[in-house]
Amino acid sequence: MTDAIAFALLLAAGADSSTVCVRDASTGGALLDAQAVDSTGRSVLLAAECNRVSTGRWTIRRLGYEPRRVELSSQGGTVLVVLQRLSVGVAMLDSVRVLAGAAGADAGGVARTTVTTGVEQARERGIASVNGLIASMPYAAPRSARGESGLSLRGARREGVVITLDGLPLNDPATGTADVSDIPLVMLGSATVALGSDPMGAGPGASGGVLALHSATGRVLTLRGGAFGERVAEGGYEGTAGGARLAAALSYRQAENDFTFDNDAGASPDGSPTRERRVNNDERRGAVTLSAAGARAQALLLLSVGDRGMVGAANVRAYDADRSRTDRLLLRGQVAVGTATLVAGVRALQLGYRDPTRPVLDATSRAGAIDVEGRTSLFGLDARAGGGADRVTATGGIEQSRGRGFASLARTVGLAGARVEIGGRVDAVGSAGMQPSFNAAVHRRFEAGAKRSVGVGARVAQAIRVPSLYDLYFSSPQRLSVRALRPERVLLDAETNLSLSLPTTLGAMDLQGSLVARNTRDAIIWFPGNFGWSPANVGMERLRGGEARAALASPRSTLSVWTTAYHTNLSVGGLRIPTPYVARFAGGGSLLVHVAGSSGGAILRFNGRRPYTAGPRNVAFELPAVTLLDLSLSRRVHVGGSSALVALSLDNATGVRWQSVRGFPSPGRALAITLTLSPRFTP
């Protein structure tokens, strides 16, 4: 099934055409943008998950996959075409757009915890931003302050998480972190959280996991109005030209974020917190995306600008006039050359800080990165090699740059009914030298009758995180030579998992659990040094824990609950320091019920106590546990060939006053209404 095309006549349709549905062999997920080419060279873009194609002999092609020939009979019907990746066995999240099922789809058959959520599902829940999408996803631990966001996965620091857009890392080479606040939701089709080190797929930096964003622009118009001055207008359009799918999207969003909060950081005369309103917390963001996808090449352009107030911590008024502007350019291209795939990307990020009251403190930093990569199948092995360069300049004479390159080999084989993945990779980054890493995994699924199966898997990996350019700069007080700050190395990232699928009277149930352990040597931590803050390699950081998730899907409803338990511990100088902002216990759940064209949803998130300093565990320096509830009601109506989705959302329905980053209050109860118009797409 996974090694060849499968044809399945599922049901009768028109006499002169058939419905072709294209799926990924590894994940079973739908593949968009495939192309059907006949013997005369005539091509038809298969833009949707399933497409009507006239009868005849066709070759189904898609970038990154082995082409398959298929004959569509005059009897019509639906044909399921399963395509095998060119790069066997490697998790090519970048080139696979897996649209989630109603409950969020798991990538099956791999010994790794992954969850994918579709944007369309998120819209039903009244979610209208990438940050909101991430916050709704299981296992994701986002936090934000001053309008920027960060993400922790599997107990890692945020610089230990790689965020990609169609495979291109969005992490800033200067800081090593990625802020996706400026990525418009309209350009996305889905997002995948993949836990654990990913040395083969994402490469350096992905010690905690990967958040893979997948682009997909349809014909859609979204308007939203909400509390605290939130206004959103996003639109996307797609069409075909010359056998290629062309798409464009525009996005504009603004918010005042002038919510009230309890200031307990000051000192009121009676000692009680004072009720205040956030000022200079507004944001305005605009973005445009253009993409073109054919059978052998595709390209994506993203331009975004963002302006926001740089409000200080709760009791700090010194930044009430400060502003920040973020400009981002991202260009990604991918082309199939013979059996190889070439990928190239360019990223540019400019951050401007403006202090009208102290213009002398104005600063600008610019970061740029170039990536080139080739992938092919070599003697049955998936081979990848690439290179790139990073550069950062900033006010104050900061200037850092370095080159990098890598090569990897991977192989996936079937062995006694199990799927075995093994791969090795060598990275060379700047002056960090050659850094090898590897990944080995085995997964076996046992069928136990109809719709019942048990999967067991295990995976071990090594990974590295090279110092960011700012790490290198600030680790060297004299700024003359780069101090020998070593790469942070995940010596061992081990995971065992168990999954269970079974039918119940309420619907199909999926259960999944994992036990994880990670040892990281030479963790790069910013401790205060003898002259300001400076990063250093310190001690051994250990993580032990587990994750579990249960999902129940019926035709009318989906229910998902999840939990994580992590114990992190950095040993340094006789101190035992937990990883900041990682809760020992966290969890959540989501419910979505469809009734007669309407749906009601709830998302519950629990975060246990989180330390917020790089010091020993001390309850005085922990954020309290918090439970948040988001509610939504939506109704979809069809007008002519279009559909309209109206979603009413109530975030933080119980009005909890909380902080995701210490000192920076989060909004309380927030009501919003979102209208999404989706003209029917006719290929």
Partner: protein, 394 residues
Amino acid sequence: MIHSSRPRSTSVPSIFPAALSICSRALTIGTAALVVAGCSDDGTTDPIQTVPRGIIVLDGIIQPGLTFLADTGSGSTKLNFGPSTEFDAGGFTLENDTVLAVSSRGAGDLLYIADVRAGTVRKVQLPAASNPGKARLLRGTARGNVIGVALRDANRIALVDVPPTGAVTVNFIENAGTCPTDVFQSNGATWVVDANANCKTNYTVIGDVRLIRIPNTGTVRDTLILAGARSSSASAIVQGDVAYVSAGGVANFATSPFTLVSPGTVTRVDLRNRQTLGQRIMPTGTFGASTKLGGDGFLYVSLYEDLLAFRNRTVKLRADNLAIVSSGASPYLTLTTTTGTDADCGSAVADGLGRVHCLINGTGSVTSLVVFNPSGAEIRRVAAGQGGVDLALR
């Protein structure tokens, strides 16, 4: 809240004279018995015991608060202040059993008053974005005993009255310099240490540090310019009629490599006659000058040896003539650890026995209190929390 009572008596010789003349004298006789402590306007003293009752370490970063240690043993206790978004002080003043420290404009403009004996801390809100610099107990002002706080960005001094019960009241002395960084009371006047820098923006030094005398009665002010003393952060140690004003110098950090513009200085000032008695320029190439008065009567200046590695060094000065006291060719105090290396003391001060107590921050900003005998050999090392930036002996 502010304990003005004397600490418990010890076997220390009772050299806490009320006479200002004695207080102003620099008693800098080598090793042991003599104790000189800060003398204040009303003749009371803030004595340092020959053998300290305890050591207070300010954890200024990571988990701000105070770590208390005894003179022996390895135990310590912690008094939490709050997160770094609410506390960012790099130093503190100890007034008997009361610790005073402030948060800058970047951490909410707060005054912290900690009762060492009770283990409690109280916060007082100061004007928003006023950028407090240093707090000190002022005895005998026109408003009585109050806490004076230099507000760097507001050009004024806050006079905070904290009654045992009731509401805190805050009054101000206006037009108190370009960037007031310290304040003290002497001879019927409030003295302001004006760093004379553009603290509101980027702390660019405008000119020499100044002492501004503001009489408790009357309106005539005097300004004493401390020629050669330049820094955006200046502070004073007051010994009766004498003030030792430290200025850390000026460096250009905008270029690479960093360059030293002006060295640090310690200036000795006769407050009664309002004149400069002398000035010690810190050793060539050094940057910074954070000065403490030791229990042995010497001044201990913490600074960076250079602008390359920023190695911490300590310079020991005679209080009477500011002469450097060193045991060899190096101007720095020789403090040798048990491994034979020079100690990297971020802050250091001696007790009445001449033992030097110093803070060393290691990997992970793990702080150790290391004590050296008068010969400079390490005799004690004890864990002292994390992120220690300042210490004081009780």
